[in-house]
Amino acid sequence: MSASGALLHVDHVTVSFHIGSFIAGGRLMAVNDVSFSLDADRPEIFAIAGESGSGKTTLARVLLHDLDPTQGKVLFEGRDLATIKSRRDAMEFMRKVQPVFQNPFETFSPLRRVEDYLFETAIQFGRAKNRRDAAPIVDEALRLVGLSLDEVRQRYPHELSGGQIQRVSVARALIPKPHLILADEPVSMVDASLRMAIVNLFKKLRDEQKVSVIYITHDLATAYYISDRIAIMLRGYVVESGPVEKVLDNPLHPYTQLLQESVPRPTASEREQWAKHIELGTMEVKEYGRIGCKYAGRCPHVMDVCKQTDPPDVEVEGRTVKCYLYLDDAR
């Protein structure tokens, strides 16, 4: 796939933050040499998963043109985000790439009625001239997520449950008719039955509206269910990526293996496996500061070389794995 034919092309993106801590030499590579592409002709759901503090949100901020990468670049529909300077270009970009955030209570001010945001979005992105014209558009978007304008009318964020308000924020993102939705942990504050409603909605958007979705999550079960491909992040790196069935049915990176087996299975017959005691990560900053593989401190298969230099990206069994264990299999 050529970069210009891509909906989104992420090219060796690195984000480094200056931090007060000296453990990591005063610098933290929140996103470390990440590359991937979404095809413009083939809408897909691309999942990005990993523990908190892996750089997922930082990567999302780069993709939303909210943060410039320290190195590398991002092309959206062929255009380098670095060239978006004018307000008009920024608005046009925002119309096409819409975010859905993890904590809807941060998106919605407690002092404003939630419907005001929806009307505002409809008017701001030119879908309506005034509130009266906007009402059916807002109602349509709310109905796509299983709500209606009548239900949210006059209500303030705290008067809605977490699930309700998250559906309102997905509805808000749908109003401009975006080409790409970037959803950062959209279901982690939403209960199971609504989770399915929201992820089924993403599927429907992909299949019927041809909208691509970047689905950032720590919920591997829904990621498996809706995604076409998945990238597993650990401390800034993508450690394993490929078709979701390959990566999650048969994970190869030791970290993906831990993640996958930590997902509680919804059956009462596999309790023992899940109850097996695990070592939790040490301080995040320490892992970021590690030379070589970021997982070496926890990895059951760690070798000397792992602690010396970054593992290579190895193509093996239809996916890419950043791990020394597979170096021989690759050739």
Binding site: Q102, E185, S193, L259, I278
Partner: protein, 330 residues
Amino acid sequence: MPLLQIEDLRAYYRTEVYGISRSVRAVDGVSMELYNNEIYGIAGESSCGKTTLIKVISGTLKPPLRVESGRVHYDFGAFEVDMLTIDPEELRQTVRWKEISYVMQGSMSVLNPVRKIIRTFEDIVRTHQGIPNKKLFLEQTQEHVRRLGLPPDVLNLYPHQLSGGMRQRVAIALATVFHPSLIIADEPTTALDVVVQRGVLQMLKDIQAESQNTVLLVTHDLAVHANVADRVGIMYAGRIVEEAPTQIIFNAPRHPYTEHLIRSLPTIGDKSVKASLGGAPPNLANPPSGCRFHPRCPLAMDRCRTETPEMITLSHHHRVACHLVTEAEA
């Protein structure tokens, strides 16, 4: 004697908006028992009243939430408490933290953001027991957190310096300082990633196994209940609609709502289409008549629209409130 008996509990939020009074019937006829030495899981979609139920049974309710009727009775062995009539001062002195403690999502409200973790331990221990010997208190607190598998260094950190998972484990450590009879955990791992969730819940399970107390675990995540709970209660629109030992809830659920929930759970290895439940969750200010699930129930019959189903007991502590089941069993 059960540790806790709840009888026909009703608790409503009564509010006035622009002169129109509204009551949200968030808990509306809940009867259940908690036993000593068990982990009881409460599941149900958001807004079904789980947190409201917790507020009432932990004695932390405040207006506009009011108890309309019912009974909430504890037997702590040494003494008994009627939660709905107990004097607030007595509740604070003898029950809170000592017999019932509470871990909630995020736990920021229990941890004072501008004070080191150790100070929060100090505050709680001082108000509920006193600290005659500061050095001893420090040693005991360090030993307590170490026993729970936390590095004692966390005591000298501020809450914002902790990761979400560490914060929850600290909150559990706080909740267990006085070895309470009941630990209530309301969505303790929601918004944590899976590895950390697994660690936090393992800690909670280990504590329960060791002290043989009772844990009331509230989470919408049924997969968590499958792995942690001994019994599970399924809540819908302010009521418990089914309750059973975990195996039965997952292998032989009887309520159409439970059946739907179990069937629609995503799991790795399964890409088959999972339908989400049609219709909207009921508005508890104006809940549906009869069985509250009837507007969304694929099997609803005429009487479901008018008659509230009675909770009936099947085998093995399995209780269900559904006309269909009642008729099948008759």
